[in-house]
């Protein structure tokens, strides 16, 4: 039985659509103020228990980095009980995550990736007005506190047509979690065990995920990977144009790269032409598998973005348990539109703030990033990387299965650049209070 009253609402609840979001990064200079911040956070963070509460359309999540736990003066034996990847932080894991070259932490937007990032508040709402109320509430929690400094913020908002910067509908897929009461988006995938998302519950493998000590701190918590990803929209448009004879062929190419038409309609269900109605239909736009219907990938290329991020049943012959790699993924867009039809880069920052939530950063987020996104051995494709989201220092390829012979797309530049990121712990509400009551 999930202790929903103790779990942060943002862990289980899909983000609203449309949405507005704000990320607030704080540094704790005085542990006593930091603890007061934790106590206040416990009051403003909604639990997952009341989906019908006034918080249903607006909520705040509070996440703490390993540096943050140290700044709160969490006891050493407790710090040591956190997994090594979390202790090291995302910047230190750059080589595993493919954050090299342009993506390397030395180029990240400061303070991301530095020990100054301690607490990240995420405020999400259905619209800007409700968001402003939430953000005010969060800021009141630390505004008057000396010893806690707001050092970075990011505003995100839904784009026209609920599209991300490359023009694709996003926010489509999320897994069902056993016992959460929140349905998944794919009726053909069984709900995953809650221990894949929340610490202290049965998981998919009967190997208990280690829980930070003491139990009050670890239980009902999750980990979250934040990633700010810049999108090179002009480069993406140029590439499509240069590799397709006409606008229709461009749209098909765009669909082959991602696995969905820009409308959101999956190639798995609309392989020949776009189906806007399907794209917008939440009951149908994620209801598919690959194995029976499209094992080779004539419809959805095995190397396409969505088939990498969640191969569903496509790789079951290899014995890989995809259930061990599921996580909650949510993206929110920042920056202005690049006006339609513009092919020249305007030098403006735009992209996605992505969050990946799960119980095991190494087994889930890092595995998917290293093994599925930035490599292709799992689909016998050698070192090919994700055509749209892969990090790369030299041009890449995408194999598009096609009869009578496949098409090999080459010269893919890097379209998405890592601007920064953090590994955080999402404590339970009890754990926030426990952190708030620590004694020096």
């Amino acid at each position: 039985m999930l202790e929903l009253t103790d779990i942060q609402s943002g862990v289980l609840r899909p983000r609203p659509t449309p949405y507005a979001a704000k990320y607030l990064v704080l540094r704790i200079d005085d542990p006593r103020s930091g603890r007061q911040l934790m106590r206040r956070a416990a009051e403003i963070v909604a639990s997952a228990a009341h989906p019908e509460s006034p918080d249903v359309d607006a909520w705040i999540s509070a996440a703490v980095t390993f540096s943050g736990l140290k700044a709160l003066a969490v006891p050493q034996d407790s710090l040591a009980s956190f997994p090594p990847e979390f202790q090291e932080g995302m910047a230190a894991r750059a080589s595993i995550l493919g954050d090299t070259g342009d993506n390397a932490p030395e180029h990240w937007e400061k303070p991301l990736g530095t020990p100054e990032v301690h607490v990240i508040f995420t405020a999400l709402a259905e619209n800007e007005e409700r968001l402003a109320v939430r953000v005010d509430r969060a800021r009141r929690a630390y505004g008057a506190l000396g010893g806690v400094e707001e050092i970075w913020t990011l505003d995100c908002h839904v784009r026209p047509g609920e599209r991300e910067a490359f023009g694709y509908r996003d926010g489509i897929g999320h897994p069902a979690i056993e016992g959460s009461g929140i349905p998944g988006s794919n009726p053909y995938e069984r709900p995953i065990k809650p221990g894949e998302l929340i610490l202290g519950y049965p998981n998919e493998i009967d190997i208990p995920t280690p829980i930070p000590r003491p139990e009050v701190l670890g239980k009902n918590g999750s980990y979250v990977a934040f990633r700010k990803l810049h999108q090179r929209v002009a480069a993406f448009r140029q590439y499509l144009k240069a590799n397709a004879e006409n606008p229709e062929a461009e749209e098909l190419l765009a669909a082959k790269i991602v696995g969905r038409w820009r409308s959101g309609a999956p190639l798995a269900l609309a392989s020949e032409k776009d189906d806007r109605e399907l794209g917008a239909d939440r009951m149908r736009n994620n209801a598919f598998l690959y194995y029976e219907d499209d094992k080779i990938g004539y419809k959805t290329p095995p190397g396409s973005h969505i088939r990498r991020m969640n191969p569903r049943d496509a790789i079951k012959d290899s014995g890989t348990k995809v259930e061990l790699r599921r996580m909650v993924r949510r993206g929110t867009s920042y920056g202005p539109e690049l006006p339609e039809g513009v092919l020249e880069d305007d030098g403006v920052e735009r992209g996605l703030m992505f969050v990946f939530i799960g119980a095991d950063l190494r087994r889930q987020f890092e595995f998917v990033q290293a093994t599925w996104l930035n490599h292709s051995e799992f689909i016998s494709g050698g070192p090919q990387r994700d055509p749209v989201a892969g990090t790369r220092s030299e041009p890449g390829d995408l194999t598009i299965p096609k009869r009578p012979i496949r098409r090999r797309l080459s010269g893919l530049p890097q379209f998405v650049v890592t601007r920064g990121g953090e590994y955080c712990f999402l404590p339970s509400l009890r754990a926030l209070r426990w952190l708030g009551e620590l004694q020096s």
């Binding site: 997994p83 090594p84 990847e85 090291e88 080589s95 595993i96 493998i205 009967d206 190997i207 208990p208 280690p210 012959d317 290899s318 014995g319 890989t320 348990k321 061990l324 190494r362 087994r363 595995f367 290293a370 093994t371 051995e377 016998s380 050698g382």
Partner: protein, 188 residues
């Protein structure tokens, strides 16, 4: 045909000498340092002492694995193995067991898949004949992972005649060759 030399530049034998630690740059995995991919792919050499009087039990287990693979050829598929070698030898301080595997995946990254498989197939039970094997292995799989890591002996030299090809790629290439041979037969 003028030459039978392999023309493909990517199929070039390679050897790699490794530092004593078994890695060039320390990359911390969950259970200890992670070992790099070499021309002989990933792999491990686990050496542990056999409990007195358990030699026959160990040897008998070879037959069990043989049967398991015969009955279900893909039973070990999740391990992405090329080869497995199980050896028993006495180094003077008693009988030791060496488990040497060459596989395509980083063990640390896939350890959960491997352990789930070990438990599901019952392979794990053979290890109860080894000294240092955790008593509570049925419930404490962390300790099992730690056992493998603690008993791993990294290579100081690895060689590959065809470096870094995965078992999947090799099987695919052989299937293509087979299909091509059939095609040629039909054309007679």
């Amino acid at each position: 045909m003028e030459s039978t030399h392999i023309q493909n530049a990517s199929i070039k034998p390679a050897a790699m000498a490794l530092p004593e630690e078994g890695y060039f740059q320390k990359e911390q995995g969950r259970y200890g340092p992670m070992f790099p991919r070499t021309p002989a792919n990933y792999g491990f050499t686990v050496i542990a002492k056999v409990k007195p009087g358990r030699e026959q039990a160990m040897r008998d287990y070879g037959k069990t694995i043989e049967e398991a693979v015969k009955n279900k050829p893909d039973v070990l598929a999740p391990l992405k193995l090329h080869y497995l070698r199980w050896v028993l030898f006495d180094v003077g301080s008693g009988l030791h067991f060496m488990y040497q595997g060459i596989f395509d995946t980083d063990f640390d990254r896939y350890i959960e898949d491997a352990l789930a498989l070990f438990n599901a197939t019952g392979i794990t039970t053979v290890f109860t004949n080894l000294e240092g094997w955790p008593e509570d292995w049925r419930t404490n799989v962390q300790a099992v992972a730690q056992f493998f890591h603690d008993h791993q002996h990294p290579s100081f030299l690895e060689y590959g005649e065809y470096p870094a090809f995965t078992a999947d790629e090799i099987k695919k290439a052989l299937m293509v060759k087979d299909a091509f041979a059939h095609l040629l037969d039909y054309m007679q």
